[in-house]
Symmetry: C2
Subunit: 445 residues, 2 copies
């Protein structure tokens, strides 16, 4: 099932939260409440072992492998929670935020220098022999169009958060050399992840006939579809060569599977039946493949390179998965609520392309008559307006934000479940990772 | 340099062969001359160590990394040979053919059963979760399987040709188990190679003009292109997962580099300056990337999995490279001489798309005034007709066939340079590989 069978869900399965709770949760100003350190959310899961709650049931677990399916459109039990327990989540995120405020640290600033090195390396890694291919491949790695650098930030923070002292080596020098080598290998994962991400963007833009990306002309628009396809292939092949150089076939396999997930997610979005388009389960599965698989599996790769246990590797995976899902859910909200400028690609993009996301799925639950409008295909702008009217009347936006907050909390709880460490760098990186879960759900662009 | 610095070239660097020699070489009926076994072409290279001659200078050596460049268009010394030495090549191939006739073996029949197993495995390897993606991946696969099955045949024959008795294990049973395991891993290489090949075909087929694509407006047509991109990505990711499962990072790196070469070759073809379009060096480099890199590097992968020495691995690579180049040169000839039916994609495809291949490059050498016609872009059918007139008057077709024959001989010589074996299976597979070099240059479709 998508809604994982963890104790927290039992608390969370209520009706919608009060508006005041929601406002508190999503407001950007937070009062300074003293930090509860790494224990801050433990009360929520106190009656069950956290690791038991958080460990997924299988390798590369899909968020949907369950029998307790959740379908919007009035056919099944709606997926919802709220009220007082949501208030609790609000408080919890409140605490996380204040801890970061105390630190005075920005997660992006923590790894700023390393990100610059990484950006330079990326530019050198995508140099191609043929000038046209080189300029196509470099296109999104140029200064100023690198995007938010969200993924490399997460991965570098995760690398530090999982730092363990390697026992046994004879001297400090050996420890330093080993640590440095490991860090370099983990940086490679961050670079490879960016290459896979950009390759998928290039191919997606061809598929969508997109004309802009990151505020500039999309590559297919500027250089043609064929070159965009080739540049994407080129990045994938370079990523694969870089992966092979890490000489860890489990990691190669993990990230190759991510490429397959990206393709599967894109195909799922392109080829839906009416039933699938209105299914929350299908939507979440697709979202995992399209967005969460890359970050979750690369987090896991960071842990595997560090020689972490299966348990810790899966916590890293869980963090990435839930952060990725939260990120996409908020993206889907912003597609309705943001402005064209803040979204960078124009508001209402999904709905105008007939893509049904969580806010509409929740709206359909409240107003089942919308299903017929969706089934007509949304080619008619009047139908899009009708959908938007109903969305405004519904709790769709709010409930999507709540779902995002739930995943943000699960991500945060995964970090809390890591083996304790008294290393201040490790603790600071963990706090930054938790802070990111908050930023993801409160962002406005 | 492209023309490798081997003794054979010194003999071969003459003017054009007599027409009677050429007819002898390319006729399909061969008299039965007694086979000279694996020594049949040694006289040609007798004054220099064969291995020294054939070993390329570097890993993944490009056919062009030389200073002795060869440019068509009248600027440089033309690249040609012929006369009596070509007669010798004719005789040499004559011998190869008769050896196979004596065996009564068809290279494809030798691995027929294994090819069927491989085809079934391939179909199961490309099964996808999403029905549309599954049918796209499978569909193009079925087409590939019904094709020549040239690459898997070469690779399975190469696997047997490089068989060595593993010394040391305690019992026959252990030897059998190890051999069986190795064979399975080598079969995986053949499957992966086919997946990469089909993926590149799918992406090559994507239309490059976005406006034309949108202009057609047919949903099926657009879906076709989208699915071509996605199915190609899917096959690449499955190939990468399969590669990772072999747990040999050198092999992963080798085949990832092939994908990069395929992309580079395609981009070289798409983005040429006038100078590059009329350069034989550029043409051959592009041909290596687009056609020869896949088969040469997968031959090398077969050798690496078998634990062969660097020297033997490079001979396998040399065989694949020269066979691939010969194959493509004949393809370029058939684009002019074949009928639409025998080519399977309509004659004159390249020239009508403004792609200049070896026959025209040789024609330009003889008639430099053609260069201006080529520079006009070949959009005008009258210009295409003019080019064809000159091609008919020139030795372009003949010299391309000669170049193909030279590469076929180099491929054959690489097989002859393998360490001797008295295993009849090994010897038969080597003869079949040599026979393939002949079939490649005498084929009419």
């Amino acid at each position: 099932m998508y809604v994982q069978n963890i104790a927290g869900d039992q608390i969370l399965r209520r009706r919608r939260p009060l508006r005041s709770d929601q406002e508190m949760l999503f407001s950007r100003g937070f009062s300074r409440i003293s930090r509860t350190s790494l224990n801050r959310s433990r009360w929520l899961f106190s009656f069950q072992s956290k690791r038991e709650q958080l460990l997924p049931s299988a390798h590369l677990q899909s968020p949907l492998d369950s029998t307790n399916t959740v379908t919007a459109g009035g056919c099944r039990e709606p997926y919802c929670w709220g009220g007082s327990s949501f208030h609790a989540i609000g408080r919890q995120i409140h605490h996380q935020s204040s801890s970061v405020v105390e630190d005075g640290l920005d997660p992006f600033l923590l790894v700023e220098n390393e990100l610059s090195i990484l950006a330079n390396r990326l530019r050198s890694m995508v140099v191609a022999e043929v000038p046209k291919l080189a300029s196509a491949a470099e296109y999104f790695f140029k200064m100023g169009v690198e995007g938010k650098r969200f993924r490399p930030t997460v991965l570098l923070l995760m690398a530090t958060a999982l730092n363990v002292h390697i026992p046994g080596p004879p001297s400090e020098k050996v420890i330093d050399a080993l640590s440095e080598e490991l860090r370099k290998r983990q940086q490679r994962i961050a670079e490879i992840t960016e290459m896979i991400h950009v390759a998928s963007l290039l191919h997606d833009d061809v598929l969508d006939d997109a004309d802009t990306r990151r505020g500039i002309g999309s590559l297919n628009f500027v250089m043609g579809n064929k070159l965009a396809v080739l540049a994407g292939d080129f990045l994938l092949s370079r990523a694969c060569v870089a992966l092979a150089s890490l000489k860890n076939t489990e990691v190669v396999s993990l990230l190759a599977t991510v490429v397959e997930h990206l393709v599967t997610g894109e195909t799922m979005q392109m080829t839906t039946t009416s039933e699938q388009r209105c299914s929350m389960e299908y939507y979440l599965q697709k979202t995992y493949y399209k967005t969460a698989s890359l970050i979750s599996n690369s987090c896991k790769a960071i842990a595997l390179l560090a020689g972490q246990t299966t348990e810790v590797s899966m916590l890293a995976y869980e963090y990435g998965k839930n952060l990725g899902l939260a990120f996409q859910l908020i993206d889907d909200v912003l597609d309705f609520t943001g402005t064209s400028m803040s979204l960078g690609k124009g508001s209402l993009t999904d709905i105008r392309h007939g893509i049904i996301t969580a806010p509409i799925l929740y709206a359909i639950e409240e107003f089942p008559q919308l299903r017929a409008v969706v089934d007509r295909g949304l080619d008619n702008p009047a139908d899009v307006d009708l959908i938007l009217d109903y969305l405004g009347k519904s709790q769709g936006i709010q409930r999507t934000q709540e779902l995002a907050a739930k995943h943000a909390n699960l991500a945060s709880a995964a970090i809390d479940s890591l083996p304790e460490s008294d290393d201040e760098d490790v603790r600071r990186s963990r706090r930054a990772l938790v802070d990111l879960t908050h930023r993801v759900i409160t962002r406005t662009k």
